[in-house]
Symmetry: none
Subunit: 199 residues, 4 copies
DNA sequence: GATGAATGAGCCTTCATTCAT
DNA sequence: TATGAATGAAGGCTCATTCAT
């Protein structure tokens, strides 16, 4: 018999995560303090602790957030027949999720999560898994493209998928150093690189 | 001890940096403690503090370490006439500096430095500058290649350079998630992408 | 513990100040450690820090304590018509506040506060202001006494007030060196010096 | 067989004391560091330590410095026949030693020494003794004046001497709070108070 | 359930002192 | 003797976590 409705609990939990996300994006996992989170969420220490048993739990929850956009990106790509067009579509979905001006907090959280992964196995697994699915999709698209004759046969699908995912993630990083980077221009540059794979 | 020789002083400083590098690579800038560094270096707090005035100074020194290999990479590329070959050469130099098994600590430090850059302007400037020079070199090579007719004219050199640098850095990241990644295979994949730029 | 009553909070704050006062009187501002204060108050570091943000804040709070007795002394004097009697009354109030056996801690704190004032502008302002009001009152009494003809006209009220305040403070100091100093005898000596001002 | 001449040793010792005096006047005994003294004196730690075995020794040496002027003051007073004139002479000697603009460092050192005396028995003894001699001289002058009929018989010489010494020391303190205090005016005010003792 | 005051281990840093050269 | 690099105990302060109310 819960004292508060499940809906209210979920809302609370979500509020805490929002506050934590802001704090972590601002100061990093290690430097952000729980007192920051308490203040940012407007909730008491005890309350936050009743939703998350430790700071690490909060970090894991944030680091583990699966960005819906990636799933969308994969689905969008799956609908395309032409393999390179499918890859470009996936790429565009990723870019519009991570390279826009509005996505700055997401970029910061991505980077600090990657870094945190070095020191926490759970975060590591979560970060690694997050790039496995896109990579797997790219491998499938490339291999299928090779079967249908749309992609050059001498391409190592595994390595090429790694290179592509790396480029996408690298651009997220690059956007941090160079916020003025032109998304359309860089999208076209990537298109041009990809075109080299066509038979 | 009376005045120490300058050579010995440099050695000490270098020893401290080595110890700090190991500690930071292991635990991150924020989580690594100076006590760790004292223990790892076998020196006392006071001694370390006579070489570096604060933990932040130590962080900056590590984060600012210019990797000689990058300079070498740029020089190697400068010697090549063919633009794409020059880029491939640069790429290989970077890969052999960061993607080998032995370079694991370097990869970890790169990632934590990038993350730290989000919270420290000095580290930010250092990290950003570290990728500006390679990028500038790539722009120059591409533009020159367009003038000599070796590179397609419809390529936006700036954006393409960003994409390339991103791919190189992204692979550093990728190697962290997938240590088994084959360097030769990924090198060839990158070669194939680059070949698409040829006229 | 949930929200503490304001009364209890004030009590805590007061307890901490009491403990700090004892520690500072015993060892001085610089030599007394906060660990001492924690132990003396029976509270933890975190708790004390939630009431005072730094050691300096604690020092300022102690150094700034306005001794109610001084105010009382001024009011007592204000009621007297005869100027020299008014001054003697003020003097007696000050002496009974600072020169009794029970006031030893107060004397010690006065001296260390005066010394601390040399190195901290805020403490300086506080200490200086602490003697301005008595001095101002003395100037007013003397000038008024000159108008009514009770005090010699050739007296420089400002300088005389300085000399008087100095004598009062100096006796506080003297009582430290010579705890056996007789309060009645010294009070009479001061009376005799003051009598020289009468017309 | 000393390696350096005794004269040179004395000079060194004196240089160190000068540096220490400046440092202590600037920051207080507790806050001034020996590294400050090393820098201010231009000598090494080892060298300073060969002249003073600890920081406390240095503090004691500074706190114990007998200001020649006081001796001069006493001698000057001894030459005067009229008791009140003798006291005024002594007072003037003290004032010109401690209340001039140039004596600021001396005032600061006096105050920090008095404060330090609270926490160090040796400094206490030194400070207390420093005011005993003037006080004793005043007692002698007053008693002799009473015998010769120049001073009122109902004066308690002991208490009056205490009050006088207190006034002199208090004025030193007062000059710290009010550097603009007029020395001639305050001297005259003291004269006027003293005149009240005449028969 | 919620509160927020309180805890205390542990961090960064300083500085009196030592001692090999 | 003189040097100054090195030591390391200890200080001020923070913050994840707990628990009485």
């Amino acid at each position: 018999m819960p004292r508060i409705s499940e809906q209210r609990r979920d809302q609370r939990r979500s509020d805490i995560l929002d506050a934590a996300r802001r704090c972590f994006a601002r100061a990093g996992f290690a430097r952000a303090t729980l007192q920051d989170v308490f203040a940012e969420s407007g909730l008491s220490a005890g309350c936050v602790y009743s939703y998350f048993q430790s700071k690490r739990d909060l970090v894991l929850a944030i680091a583990d957030e699966r960005h819906v956009e990636e799933r969308v990106a994969l689905e969008a790509a799956a609908a395309e027949k032409d393999p390179l067009d499918a890859i470009k579509l996936m790429m565009r979905a990723i870019f519009s999720a991570y390279l826009t001006k509005a996505a700055e907090e997401k970029r910061r959280l991505s980077l600090i999560t990657w870094s945190e992964a070095l020191f926490d196995e759970t975060v590591f697994a979560s970060a690694r898994d997050g790039m496995r699915e896109p990579r797997r999709a790219l491998v499938a698209i490339l291999k299928h493209g090779q079967q249908t004759g749309a992609v050059r046969k001498n391409v190592n699908a595994e390595a090429m998928a790694s290179a592509m995912v790396s480029m996408f993630q690298g651009l997220l990083l690059h956007k941090i150093w160079d916020p003025a980077m032109s998304l359309p221009a860089v999208t076209e540059a990537c298109d041009q690189l990809l075109e080299g794979l066509r038979v």
